[in-house]
């Protein structure tokens, strides 16, 4: 099965500055994938390359097995909501739907109407007069009413208040439950991602730090505490993501594919947020504990 998004050595340079450098990743179909990383990691550049708004400086990018935006049919398969969910301020809600109907061959007018009614939006209202949450919902409606195979969202909820954020995600999840669609969304709100994403990619400085099925990741990472000991005495199949210690105690975050059965250590599972943060800080630390090599897919 081809992935929804595959990149190899993908790089983008703006004049002298590299916005994305040597990025290789593979996002499988049928998932809601969260793309997480600090500001400046290259998430927006990556997503813009994926939808064909930018052309790579080096490397390749494929969406649904082909070059982005290379044909009309391919354009129709990809829904995109750019950062800050832009709409046309001077156009009404109804104008937006008309625009969508004209520009998209597979436009699902009934779905769009249903959404707008369900949201309680006035079709005559100018988009510029909508609240942030409503504008985001309108942008999402346009993207899903074209009935894409893959929906790419760039930080769609970052600027929304908690209620609008929840409502946005409810609609997004309802759509993925009803239709066969893969979603790739970038975000730094890990607590929201934890609910909606079943696949996670942590991107730091263009590099994939960790990628995988969320439940598998959560089940294979452990927080360990115990009496201080030499890291060299730990089992060889553990991958130490972070380690800290006091004079007497050691605290470890390790990845292990088999259950931890190490006497003297207290074992706890960790949440997605801690896992993401651990990988992010591992990537930015000058000398990392353990092996800081790029972790590819399983």
């Amino acid at each position: 099965m081809t992935g929804v998004l595959e990149t190899t050595g993908l790089s983008k340079r703006y004049r002298r500055r590299w916005a994305l450098r040597d990025c290789t990743l593979s996002i499988p179909a049928g998932h809601v994938t969260g793309l997480v990383g600090p500001n400046g990691a290259g998430k927006t550049t990556l997503l813009n390359l994926a939808v064909g708004l930018l052309a790579p400086t080096e490397g390749t990018v494929e969406v649904l097995g082909g070059a982005p935006a290379s044909s009309e049919a391919r354009l129709a398969k990809v829904g995109f909501v750019a950062q800050d969910t832009p709409t046309y301020a001077g156009l009404s809600v109804a104008d937006h739907l008309r625009l969508g109907a004209h520009m998209n061959p597979g436009w699902d007018g009934a779905l769009a109407e249903r959404r707008i009614t369900g949201l309680g939006l006035d079709p005559a209202q100018k988009a510029g007069k909508l609240s942030g949450g409503q504008r985001a919902q309108l942008a999402l409606t346009l993207a899903i009413a074209k009935r894409p195979e893959v929906l790419i969202l760039d930080e769609p909820i970052a600027s929304l208040d908690p209620l609008a954020r929840r409502e946005f995600l409810q609609i997004l999840m309802e759509f993925t439950a009803e239709h066969d669609v893969s979603v790739v969304m970038s975000s730094h709100l890990v607590s929201d991602l934890e609910r909606v994403c079943d696949y996670l990619i942590v991107l730091v400085a263009s590099r994939v730090q960790v990628a995988g099925d969320v439940d598998t990741l959560l089940a294979s990472h452990y927080q360990l505490t115990g009496p201080r000991r030499d890291l060299a005495t730990l089992p060889a199949d553990w991958k130490v993501i972070s380690a800290s210690h006091t004079d007497k105690q050691i605290t470890l975050l390790v990845r292990s594919e088999s259950p931890i059965a190490e006497p003297g250590l207290t074992v706890d599972h960790i949440g997605l947020e801690d896992l993401v943060l651990a990988y992010m800080s591992q990537a930015t630390r000058p000398v990392a504990v353990g092996s800081p090599e790029l972790e590819a897919q399983r």
Partner: protein
Amino acid sequence: MNGSTVIEFHLDTRSGLSPYLQLIQQVKQALRLGLLSEGDQLPTVKDVVARLAINPNTVLKAYRELEYEGLVAARAGIGTFVTRTLTDGSLAAHGPLRADLQRWLASARQAGLDDDSIEALFATTFRAAIEEEVR
């Protein structure tokens, strides 16, 4: 549809337990307490997803696991229904077990353990017992 769904799911984001395990736990809890019984329908995937804003695969995974354990069965196009209860017999044992636990708690306090120590002792013993079973 025969009757409305009986339970509503909720998510505790701080529990550290992954969402799909929380759903499983809530169904089992409801089965144990007799809130859900044979023939009751679980909320549809679309309902759960729209309510909690969670990934549909999470709900499907939880339901599949419950199905695998023989607690529920999916009927194509209709929904997922409870096929077995967990209350059989064990509910009656709750009383005496609680009394035992209360006696144990009293002796723990008498020995000078505070709340945190009691919890820590219980948690480590509980975990050790589970690991013993796994082996």
